[in-house]
Symmetry: C2
Amino acid sequence: MPHSTNAPRLGDLERVVMERLWDAATAAGGNASGSTVREVHESIEQDRDIAYTTVMTVLDRLAKKQLVTRERDGRAWRYLPADSREVMTARTMRRTLDDMEVTDRRAALLHFLDGASTDEIADLKAALAEVEARAAGGSAAPGSAPPPGR
Amino acid sequence: MPHSTNAPRLGDLERVVMERLWDAATAAGGNASGSTVREVHESIEQDRDIAYTTVMTVLDRLAKKQLVTRERDGRAWRYLPADSREVMTARTMRRTLDDMEVTDRRAALLHFLDGASTDEIADLKAALAEVEARAAGGSAAPGSAPPPGR
DNA sequence: AGGTGAATACGACGGTGCGTAGTACAAACT
DNA sequence: AGTTTGTACTACGCACCGTCGTATTCACCT
């Protein structure tokens, strides 16, 4: 068993495809109907040359990695992201932090914050506050509305 | 040019080797003299069978990726990590957050915190406080001692 | 019912990264 | 001078990914 990356990692094209899927989903206003291969293909082809089947293969592999799900729509499949960009990002970040066996986690987080903009710090504080509120006050909806629409 | 992951990613063995280097460095009490191939090899071999040259190759590739540096020591090289575990971890996390073009960063951070232990939250708050103190009060040493020895 | 087109399924090829290691060569100690 | 110690270079196998071609299926139209 040569090597094995525990959680699947995205290639360049795979990332692009995910991007289109996410964009399509949010553009559709949360209507999670998903995109067909054709739709994704046409979207990407506006930016660069790519074969229809290439997109199909990538979508297929993403499905095998369970990064997207798909459901029938006539004879075609509609693909949709298994998780939001945000969830995937969070999961990857967490995996990084857990994988490196950081002895001094605080120092690591400090370095992380070093590269953060003030905006980001604000976001982080807000998130922190929310987690704490949730932990303290039960699971009721937090004071602020659910994560802003954009 | 098929694909290209911008920042180098660690394989399993590469990670193990980095681990040994870091451990050796901290064990030596911050004395950053580095480890020889032989030392790393002997260390790993206590846990599993591995050829001397395999370790050498890995070390070599890590050097090419600039994840470790090396300096002559007689006829041998001494390898040392280019960055601390903490810095590398932070950088990887940051890259993840930046790469995914997260529209709702706060939501992403929220998800990230969801998976955090209370300890981790405490570490994060401490780090946050420190960054703010640093930003406000100038670059003088923070009130609390420098990052705890472990 | 046969042809046409849309869509998928399957597989293939080339490049790269990584785990793995052998061999060839240089330097140094004995 | 020979044995050790250490490096440099090369190589192989396999998995992943970008890339696409071909075969096949399925529904529909005429």
